[in-house]
């Protein structure tokens, strides 16, 4: 039997390491493009201040990038250490984007990042500009491939179960690449990264403007960040993730949980702005609703329905029962009865095998599950509504606050009067944590909302874990938390130190603190 404690601890460890990793990745994605834009301006105009901008923001980029690499190392190997059965069961599909990510993206990004930092005197202007763009493209490519992998976990297209090898196998690579969930996720996630980079530059530039130092440098940084940020936040919101919730059963379930939609309402459904979801009673207390809004947002139509949780539960229970049949047939096949009739019978129901596997948590043999166990497994198919409902609202709220900020900042920057608006500069400075808040809650919605599955409708999280001991996972979890936290403190210390110092840290003699000494 699999230990539930090992599964829970492994989930905690994966969530912790992924969230830590994703403190640094979005800033890398966004700053890389901002650096490329700044350097393009430098190459086109020849103005030294833009080169200084690339070097200074590049220094902060480097401090952030180092921890991105460190925390990324864990991610590449953690599927094997802690999710070994998952790795076996879906490695045939899931491993490919990871390997291609290495070949296509990591090599590009990591090879050229060295030249970005150390190649200033060795490369021509254009060569260095190309290097910077390749770093930005490489980091975005890596986001593409990892989101193709992640999109497949949410909506596993292009694959089939093979009873002989006891795993999922790839049948359609094109479907994997052009998975609609992955495409939407990619745009949403990288654009969120661009927003993070833009807020970072905007907030720190505002700090210099508030302190009235290095104003020429700060004003130009502010201008680029506000324009880039406005375009990016619009992409995040307009090409929002919610359009990806139409496809696949688990995505539908996630949507119903996010919106606390207990019943299926006639289209277009109303949108619950806030409320107090009560999962035990299957209702939302104190709900404030906007008519029609949910149906329009979620289905981009006036006539498509949004499935409610109660209806989904009925569908899931039926699929669990079919899944039990599928599991019984799989056992026959594995025991050597591979007659055409058994194969045909299995093929007819194998799409529900994953639902049958949900019962593994309660009974080893699946086919003999009791009525109570089936009911319990059915309830398991709905993730925790309360936490999803509220995380989603925190994410969206942060997004709209950032939209307002960038709109004001862009307007002020276009009219060249941001320095006379201290309220705007303070607002920008204190908005610094917002993109991280939005991103972390967003990932929580995406991944917690996928539960109880590791691969939607295919493999329950419960079955995915490695056969390691509870003590092992406790040990690694605590060691990782301790080590990462120490590194994070060091990183924050350096980041704050150099952000405060500003472009004077370049030691060019042209900036504030150097002139004060002179």
């Amino acid at each position: 039997m699999i230990s539930e404690a090992v599964v829970d601890l492994s989930r905690l460890q994966f969530a912790m390491t992924a969230m830590y990793h994703f403190l640094f990745v979005p800033l890398t994605l966004g700053l890389a493009f901002l650096l490329a834009i700044m350097e393009s301006v430098y190459v086109m105009t020849g103005k030294q201040v833009y080169k200084d901008m690339v070097k200074f923001w590049g220094k902060l980029f480097g401090i952030n990038f180092a921890l991105g690499v460190t925390t990324g190392l864990t991610m590449e190997f953690q599927f094997g250490t802690n999710w070994a059965y998952y790795s076996h069961y879906v490695g045939d599909i899931f491993g490919a984007p990871l390997a291609i990510e290495g070949l296509m993206a990591f090599f590009l990004e990591s090879t050229f990042i060295g030249l970005f930092f150390f190649g200033w005197d060795r490369l021509s202007k254009l060569q260095h500009l190309a290097v910077t763009w390749l770093v930005a493209i490489g980091s975005n490519m890596s986001a593409l491939w990892i989101l193709i992998a992640n999109g497949w976990m949410q909506n596993p297209v292009g694959a089939e179960f093979n009873y002989q090898t006891m795993r999922m196998e790839l049948v359609d690579f094109g479907a994997l690449l052009f998975n609609p969930v992955a495409q939407v996720k990619f745009v949403h996630t990288v654009a969120a990264g661009y927003v993070t980079g833009a807020v970072f530059v905007l907030a720190i530039s505002s700090y210099y403007l508030l302190k009235k130092r290095d104003q020429g440098f700060a004003r130009r940084s502010f201008a680029i960040a506000s324009a880039f940020g406005l375009a990016s936040i619009l992409s995040v919101i307009v090409l929002g993730d919610e359009s990806g919730y139409e496809v696949g059963d688990v995505q539908k379930t996630k949507l119903a949980a996010i919106e606390a939609e207990w019943e299926t309402h006639p289209a277009p459904a109303s949108f619950t702005v806030i409320g107090w979801p009560n999962q035990a009673e299957q209702r939302t207390d104190y709900a404030i609703k906007i008519p029609y809004a949910l149906g329009i947002i979620a289905t981009r139509s006036l006539d498509k329905q949004v499935s409610g949780i109660k209806d989904l539960l009925v569908q899931h229970e039926a699929r669990i029962r079919t899944g039990m049949t599928a599991y019984g047939l799989l056992q026959q096949l594995r025991e050597g009865d591979d007659s055409a009739a058994t194969k045909a019978a299995f093929d007819a129901v194998k799409d529900d095998l994953g639902y049958g596997l949900l019962l593994k948590k309660y009974t080893a043999n699946v086919v003999d599950a009791s009525e109570a166990q089936i009911q319990q497994a059915t309830l398991d198919t709905i993730p925790n509504v309360f936490s999803l409902f509220w995380s989603f609202r925190v994410m969206v709220g942060s997004g709209f606050l950032l939209l307002a900020l960038f709109a004001c900042a862009f307007w002020a920057s276009a009219r060249k009067n941001e320095e006379r608006k201290p309220w705007l500069l303070k607002w920008a400075l204190f908005s610094l944590p917002l993109p991280w808040l939005a991103i972390q809650t967003g990932w929580f919605v995406a991944e917690h909302g996928r539960q109880p599955w590791s691969i939607a409708e295919v493999l329950p999280t419960y079955l995915s874990a490695s056969s390691v001991s509870e003590g092992d996972v406790w040990g690694s979890l605590l060691a990782l938390i301790a080590f990462y936290s120490v590194l994070l403190v060091i990183e924050m210390y350096l980041m704050i130190k150099f952000a405060r110092l500003g472009p004077s840290s370049l030691h060019t003699g042209r900036y504030h603190f150097e002139q004060a000494h002179a």
């Binding site: 690499v69 599927f79 490919a96 070949l103 090599f107």
Partner: protein, 380 residues
């Protein structure tokens, strides 16, 4: 498109290529970091050593990450069984590697002796530990790992980290540690001058000797010792999808030397390992840095091929249930996945090699203390 059996063989070669790529590139920066306390005595000297690898270590490390990804994609069962079984060994390597990106980037950002020395020790550990543990892990492959598979192909490992530290495995650890630090030493001979180059030359001579003793020692142990290798006595057709448990494996391959008798043409691998290290040691004595680096590179290629050829077709032998041993025939992905991955590798590997080479060409030249002193803020 391609025959399944051929694809299985090709992926055995490609995993080997990625591991060799990792050892050839990341090997010298792990080695150079491991040599920090030996070859660099002052802060400026340590910065010279670090700046010889500064523009390259990150790209080099991607060979390891990509090898991990390729293992996941091409041999999912190996990825699953090896990393969950060798749980703490892998974590120890990861924790050691964690220090490197931050160490390289943060160390020279503050002008504080204790700060810098702490990171220098971190970089030293980050160089030594992975170099040692990789060898210990390979050594354990020869001894077989205590894992089994149940009928749903879930792997269970019955052992712990300390049991990996058997004498033979530790000797294999010495092989890899001396091999990669030798590579680091010959790299530093090429890329530095003055005192660092002299110390690196001495280190290279000693390490070449240590490597030869350990490598030949491992060979003699396999030849005369009691290590039992495995052989497949019966399995299904190699060009079909196979269940690892449906084969018969016998412990009849004393010292894993059967392949060298069966295919005498593979004997170039151990000979290349020895010849490469000899060349590295002799060229170091003659102060031919480039030739010494070529020698340590050949030693790496020879050593990894020696291990791969001996174990073939096994990649992860089991000591608990011989039939559960994972091989290139039955631990692999589907034909379709292997084919797609091969196309990706054929497109990207040549590209990677060419831009990596461009990067090295652009950054080539000796790193000198004066250069470091004139650049207190622009370099690591």
């Amino acid at each position: 498109m391609f025959d399944y059996e051929v694809l299985k063989l090709v992926w055995w070669v490609l995993v080997g290529v990625l591991l060799i790529g990792f050892a050839l590139t990341d090997g010298f920066d792990l080695g150079a970091a491991a040599l920090l306390p030996v070859v660099a005595k002052t802060d400026d000297e340590r910065r010279v050593v670090i700046n010889t690898i500064a523009p390259h270590w990150d790209g080099n490390q991607v060979w390891l990450i990509t090898a991990g990804g390729a293992l996941f994609a091409a041999w999912p069962l190996v990825y699953a069984a090896a990393f969950s079984g060798l749980y703490w060994a892998l974590l120890v390597v990861l924790f050691a590697l964690f220090v490197r990106p931050v160490g390289f980037d943060y160390r020279s950002k503050l002008d504080n002796t204790r700060w810098r020395q702490s990171w220098d020790w971190g970089l030293f550990v980050g160089g030594v530990v992975p170099s040692l543990v990789f060898g210990v892990a390979f050594g354990n492959l020869f001894l077989g790992l205590p894992f089994s598979l149940d009928d749903t192909l879930r792997s269970t490992y019955q052992g712990n980290f300390w049991q990996l530290l058997s004498p033979f495995a530790l000797l294999a650890g010495v092989v890899s540690l001396s091999m990669l630090t030798l590579h680091g030493a010959t790299w530093l001979m090429m890329r530095s001058d003055g005192a660092i180059a002299v110390r690196s030359r001495h280190a290279a001579q000693g390490l070449a000797l240590l490597f030869l003793l350990a490598f030949i020692g491992c060979g003699l142990w396999l030849w005369q010792g009691d290590i039992v290798g495995l052989q497949i006595s019966q399995m299904g057709a190699a060009d079909s999808a196979l269940n690892p448990l449906n084969k018969t494996v016998q412990a009849s391959n004393s010292g894993w030397l059967a392949n060298y008798q069966l295919y005498p043409e593979t004997r170039w691998a151990p000979l290349l390992g020895i010849a490469g290290a000899l060349l590295a040691g002799l060229a170091a004595s003659a102060r031919w840095a480039g030739l010494a680096f070529a020698g340590s590179s050949l030693a790496i290629i020879g050593t990894l091929c020696t291990a791969g050829f001996a174990l073939f077709p096994f990649v992860m032998p089991s000591s608990l249930n011989l039939a559960a041993s994972l091989t290139v025939w039955d631990a692999v992905s589907s034909q379709k996945t292997l084919g797609i991955m091969l196309v990706a590798a054929c497109i990207f590997l040549p590209l990677i090699l060419s831009y990596t080479l461009w990067g090295y060409v652009k950054m080539w030249g000796k790193v000198r203390t004066e250069h470091i002193q004139n650049n207190p803020h622009g370099l690591y």
